[in-house]
């Protein structure tokens, strides 16, 4: 009976310890194949655009392609370790292939295919997200900053982008960037201004904690009179007297408005 209970507990213990590790250890194998296949397809297009492809590039690409096939086979067999190995090997070959293609300096045709429109679109998305973050922070922190112009400029930038007016979009992006810089600056100032209030609250909590700890220590000292003298001197803050002193000092500093000095006094306390 006891033995079975122990075995059961041991099994449960093993499940608890190994459960999450197991679930993390198995990557989604389809993801590996998807990434490797995309890389292969893309490099195939790239290589097809080069007039005289060197044997080195061909070999590297072929090895990467073979490793991708091996990865596919490993996935079919549910062989996780082998799949990972083939994935890393395939990606390594593809990386080398890509580097060799880059070194040919024949990628100018491809470079021009990177559309500016896409970059501008991405830039607008980034700025819009940043704007949303700052707006949320401004609302939460009751900070007043007018984002109306920002919203208008973003809308105009989107319209101009749809109309293909990329030069105008670039200008609008710079303007929105400037507004966000101002908003960020304004919010940073708000945070600084409110820091002193937060320090006061924090100091009050620390004073309360010190008072509470002082009372507890005093009770403990009264209940355990065998405490050694060396233990007493080992810490400055195990003494209720010192804690009371510190508490009183902090109270005084806060009441005098010297919150920064109070904070300086609190910082070393954390070490104890």
């Amino acid at each position: 009976m006891k033995a079975i209970a122990v075995i059961l507990l041991a099994l449960v213990g093993t499940l608890i310890i190994n459960g999450p590790i197991q679930s993390y250890a198995d990557p989604q194998l389809d993801a590996l194949l998807q990434i490797a296949t995309q890389a292969r397809d893309n490099l195939k297009v790239n290589i097809s655009q080069i007039s005289n492809v060197s044997d080195e590039i061909k070999n590297l690409f072929k090895q990467g392609s073979d490793e991708t096939d091996a990865l596919s086979n490993a996935i079919d067999k549910k062989d996780v370790a082998s799949a990972r190995k083939h994935f890393l090997s395939a990606m390594n070959f593809f990386k080398s292939t890509n580097e060799k293609i880059n070194s040919l300096g024949t990628t100018q045709a491809n470079n021009q295919q990177t559309p500016d429109v896409s970059q501008l679109q991405d830039d607008i998305t980034r700025i819009e997200k940043l704007g949303e973050t700052l707006k949320t922070i401004a609302i939460t922190n009751h900070a007043t900053f007018d984002f109306t112009q920002f919203d208008q400029l973003i809308q105009k930038a989107k319209q101009d982008l749809d109309n293909g007016n990329t030069n105008e979009v670039s200008k609008l992006i710079e303007q929105t960037n400037q507004i966000l810089t101002n908003a960020h600056h304004s919010l940073t100032e708000v945070a600084k201004q409110r820091t002193s209030d937060r320090i006061k609250d924090f100091a009050a909590k620390q004073i309360q904690r010190l008072d509470q700890a002082g009372n507890n220590t005093q009770n403990n000292v009264m209940q355990t009179p065998k405490i050694s003298s060396t233990d007493k001197t080992s810490s400055n803050f195990t003494f209720p007297e010192n804690q009371k002193d510190m508490s009183a000092k902090l109270k005084k500093l806060v009441s005098e408005g010297k919150v920064d000095e109070a904070l300086k006094e609190i910082k070393p306390l954390k070490k104890h």
Binding site: L8, V12, G19, Y24, N102, Q121, T140, R198
Partner: protein, 401 residues
Amino acid sequence: MSQEYQVTEVQPVLPEGMIFVRINCILTTMVRAPVIAACFLLLALSSFVQYAIGTPKVLDFTIYSEGITHVFYQTDTDPQSPDSILNLYGNSIENLVVQDENGTLLSSKVDGNIATVETLGAATIKADYDTPDLISKNGKTWTFQVNSTVDYSVLLPKNSVIVGMSVSPLNLQTVDDQSLISLPSGSSEINYIIGVLGTSQTATVAIQKAQDFINTINSTGVQTPMALTKLQEARADFNQGKFSDAESLANTAKSLALQEQQTFNSVPNTSSNNFTIYLLIGIIIAASAAGFIIMKRTNSKSRSSNTVTLNETPKNRYVAPDKETIYKLKPELRQDDKDIVAFISEKGGQVFESELRKKFLMPRTTMWRAVKRLEREDVIDIEKVDQQNLIKLKKIEEDNK
């Protein structure tokens, strides 16, 4: 009672599918039930504990196509501590905002890649910032590199294709046409390129749209020879892998088809008007050819202008201040701004912004901000030359002789 149980025990054959359980076994099992229940309880509790222990930190990287990475980091802090040290990814940090668990904005000081946050009782901090330092570019290949102590996720730009990866990902999802990869802690490198397959797809769509449009017009009895010729050219370019050109030609074919339709509808079919149609077509062709030549010339001019313009700029009229003078006058300049000043100084006091981007491998917007910063500091002037920004160190004018 026990005798009755004995009788059931000796029953010879049970119907198929029935399990015989002795009553004393049931009793034993009932005694064990609390143990099993305790085990299940432990398992259930363990999942909560693992969740609590396993998810104190969140680290997300969002990569944008111009090379900027947005970092979101969330971690637990000691509520008794007045401040907290945050290691940032990258040295050039922009738009840093730190909030606590309630969304209260926290004050922070950044020194290099370390931020000291005045947490003042916060139990959790959430940091958002942008950095260009995690991305580098070689040719058309972008590389994202990071060394993290926790598992993290990376959201790649739209139309990006991974061509190299140093670690095995934990997961891959597609979110709004973007790849979201989960990666394990440690050092990792992702190489990706933007636009090749995407442009192929957009070119295919453009050709298809043009073809459909031309077919519709042709079905009404309107002939579109020019549009069809242009569409054939688009197909030829597509087959050669010139996706961008193919897309452009397909769009032109569509426009030509529309023009041909309008011409057909607006003009009666007489011999004299045929002449007008041919004249119009001739004008369109001539205009297209002229536009093409002008574009070609503009492109070649702009390509060479980096060197030619710089060489041709009369420098005897200006004396660009040397970098040491600027450093003395502006001691508060950031180190990376000083590097830019040094480079401009080495280049004779003026360079194109594109040269700066190439030299410092900075994304367009980051470099633009740096340039604007220097302009605000009165260190440089920005001039538009051939639709490019020419950056000049503020010159000490000599006599304009």
